[in-house]
């Protein structure tokens, strides 16, 4: 065996670059977050607001179940034919005057983007919210190459000005309230009106003034993409503020960095996702702006259009027969807003650009389970995430599957159990039951999950529910749980049954 892996061997996202690994384990980070009452208040308010909005606009769609079924099937069909879809996409983008680049990991994607920017002669780029570029740590890489990257999404601007980290997929500054944002603006924006109030309207207007000249002068933009249509080569960005339109329209050069899983086979598929995404995400019937472009459009918008297709661990997710469904995610963030764990700990505890339930299944698979071993335990398996997921990702089953993997990895390494695997009732329980549970009982459990009541006494719980309660105890080492996971689960199930 040589040291270089075979080209077909799955590779994980490399360490030391980007934002997929936290400095601390989830329990450590969560314990700190739980001790911050301001954070919990901000999160509670924001997630409650958006849950209600989502519920209202989903309820008015008579065929929501059919749309979810279609969304799930389109994504699964895409992943099963991903090589073909990407080749078609590449062909169409190229035919329309775009240039396609392939990046195996974060480092090579960063290198490609830095080179493309350098070739334009520009030393700065404007950016529109893109999870992929945060995942790969593009801003840092550009800074090292002497290029300034300016976030233009209001929330991203708040995060960037504060030297902070995003904590939510849709609302990255969800952990900040208006007073904190006002203080930040006063401190960090040059020439700002010192009389600025904390009225969200005034804060948004301040951001508009701050970014306007930057947009008008920008020569290069970097964007993400929500969808890419293989059939036509069309890329799609869904947004609200118009900063996306600015970035996609004004500069001469547009560089889009996109995970390989974002491709969809046909134009028609967008009719499904452009219904599922806005309603699940912002809780609107449609987001204010959706931009679609196909290569370079003569006389309209950027003349040089690049697409960087990013792997960075996605192929190893794809290689896992159970875990691969995590690639179906359209990043709506609905699962965050309903998650009893996320609502209490916030996004930073997950240590990754992908927080909440989706983060708990995606990050460990992208990095390799040994780098994010505590994340699959960051859940109560209550099933609320599955209920709201517009593409029906069975997050609880994948969590259980990853817990089993974690135990196997540790067993193979003959590791002494980590504190969290001791603390978690789940640890003892997973060793014996995990696989049986995830396979044999999958269908019957699903039936129960689907019928469950979602908001069970959510606001009243003062600690993390279930076995995770151990993490909320203010001690140096987590306390062993009072009940095993199985006992907890059995009780939950029966009490749920009685309630119904």
């Amino acid at each position: 065996m040589s040291d270089t892996p075979a080209p077909t061997a799955p590779i994980h996202a490399p360490a030391g670059v980007g934002m997929l690994r936290g400095a601390r384990t989830f329990p450590e980070a969560a314990r700190q977050a739980l001790g911050d009452p301001q954070l919990r208040h901000n999160l509670g308010h924001a997630t409650a607001t958006i849950r209600e909005k989502r519920a209202n606009v989903v309820a008015e769609v008579a065929d929501w179940a059919e749309l979810r079924n279609a969304g799930e099937a389109i994504k699964s069909a895409t992943m099963a034919t991903l090589d073909e879809q990407l080749i078609r996409l590449e062909h169409q983008v190229t035919a329309a005057g775009g240039v396609v680049h392939w990046a195996s990991d974060a480092d090579s994607a960063n290198e490609i983007v830095a080179r493309l920017v350098r070739e334009t002669g520009s030393r700065e780029v404007v950016k529109v919210k893109s999870m992929a570029t945060q995942e790969i740590g593009l801003n840092d890489a550009l800074a090292q190459a002497g290029i300034d990257a300016y976030e233009t999404d209001l929330a991203e601007l708040i995060v960037q000005l504060g030297g902070d980290l995003p904590s939510h997929i849709l609302v990255p500054a969800i952990h900040r309230n208006r007073a904190e944002i006002r203080n930040l603006f006063l401190r960090a924006i040059p020439d700002i009106d010192p009389g600025l109030t904390d009225d969200p309207r005034a804060l948004a207007a301040a951001a508009r003034r701050h970014l306007r000249q930057r947009f008008l002068a920008a020569k290069v933009a970097v964007s993400g993409a929500n969808f890419a249509v293989a059939e036509t080569g069309t890329l799609c960005v869904v947004e609200s503020e118009g900063n996306g339109r600015m970035c996609l329209t004004l500069p001469d050069t547009l560089i889009t960095v996109m995970g390989i899983e974002k491709v969809v086979p046909s134009w028609r598929d967008l009719e499904v996702f452009l219904q599922l995404l806005p309603r699940s995400s912002t809780g609107e019937r449609m987001n204010p702006y959706t931009s679609l472009w196909t290569g370079a459009h003569r006389g309209d918008g950027p003349r040089a259009v690049h697409l960087v297709l990013l792997d960075n661990g996605r192929t190893s997710v794809l290689a896992d027969q159970v875990g691969r469904d995590a690639l179906n995610c359209i990043r709506c963030s609905a699962c965050l807003n309903v998650c009893p764990v996320y609502q209490r700990t916030g996004g930073h505890a997950y240590g990754s650009v992908y927080p909440g339930p989706i983060g708990a299944i995606l990050s460990p698979q992208l990095t390799g389970i040994e780098h994010n071993a505590s994340l699959p335990y960051a859940s109560t398996l209550c099933g609320a995430c599955y209920d709201v997921c517009p593409v029906k990702i069975d997050i609880p089953s994948i969590l259980v599957h990853l817990r089993a993997q974690d135990v196997e990895v540790k067993r193979a390494r003959r590791d002494v159990p980590t504190p969290e695997s001791v603390a978690m009732a789940a640890a003892a329980w997973t060793m014996t039951d995990d696989r049986r549970w995830s396979r044999a009982q999958r269908s019957s459990r699903l039936a129960r999950l689907v019928g469950r009541r979602r908001d069970k006494a959510r606001g009243l719980i003062r600690s993390l529910p279930g076995p995770l309660a151990a993490w909320t105890v203010a001690r140096d080492a987590p306390r062993p749980p009072a009940q095993t996971f199985r006992e907890w689960w059995a009780r939950e199930r029966s009490s749920d049954g009685q309630r119904r």
């Binding site: 329309a96 999404d153 118009g242 459009h297």
Partner: protein, 210 residues
């Protein structure tokens, strides 16, 4: 081996178990069950809920309505695409400077303009959305982006009920912009604020033929 070949090889290895390719169940609603008139009024209602100002008129009432809207907004500089029906601006007073963008206006020029007047390719009733596709009556994307006020004339025959019907009418190879109300953000405490970088004011004129 290039990164392209390596990535494709990793993908093929990853799906080496030949996962099934499910058929796509498209039994969701494609066509809305609305009469033409009902679609127009649903569109009006939904666009207004997203804080667009919605107006109704016959096609021959469009010029007067545009003049009225410009006057009440106090707009003095307007830009229009080359293919806008000329008579739509017939009643705009000469005190309003009207530029026709033939692709030559700079971003600075456009930044100094108050208002843009366009048609639209499609309007989707259920979501209150207008879609621009860069046709001659809509122009390049930047002209509807920099001015702070957008007046969009929607002829009723362009209104469909559902998102699938809307996309079906569009040509994906054109530059497309779907607009649902003025620009907005909910980034601060989930409070919706209208008006960030895109036009802060959107007027929609629904024009009935005859």
């Amino acid at each position: 081996m290039t990164a392209r070949e390596a990535t494709l090889a990793r993908i093929r290895a990853a799906i080496g178990d030949a996962p099934s390719v499910p058929a796509i169940p498209r039994d969701y609603r494609v066509r809305g069950d609305l009469e033409a008139g009902a679609a127009a009024s649903l569109f009006a209602q939904r666009a207004a809920e997203y804080r667009a100002a919605v107006h109704h008129t016959g096609l021959d009432g469009v010029p007067a309505l545009i003049a009225t809207i410009l006057a009440s907004a106090g707009d003095t500089r307007a830009v229009v695409p080359t293919g806008l029906p000329a008579d739509w601006l017939a009643e705009v007073p000469s005190s309003v400077l009207v530029y026709t963008d033939d692709g030559g206006m700079t971003t600075e020029d456009l930044d100094a303009v108050d208002v843009v007047v366009t048609g639209c390719a499609v309007a989707i009733a259920e979501t209150g959305t207008v879609v621009l596709d860069g046709a001659p009556d809509q122009g390049r994307r930047v002209i509807t982006l920099l001015p702070d006020h957008h007046i969009c004339v929607v002829s009723v025959d362009r209104i469909v009920a559902t998102v699938p019907e809307g996309l079906h009418r569009l040509d994906p190879t054109r530059p497309l912009t779907m607009i649902s109300g003025p620009s907005a953000t909910s980034d601060i405490e989930l409070t919706r604020v209208e008006g960030v970088h895109g036009p802060r004011n959107l007027d929609v004129i629904i024009a009935t033929a005859g």
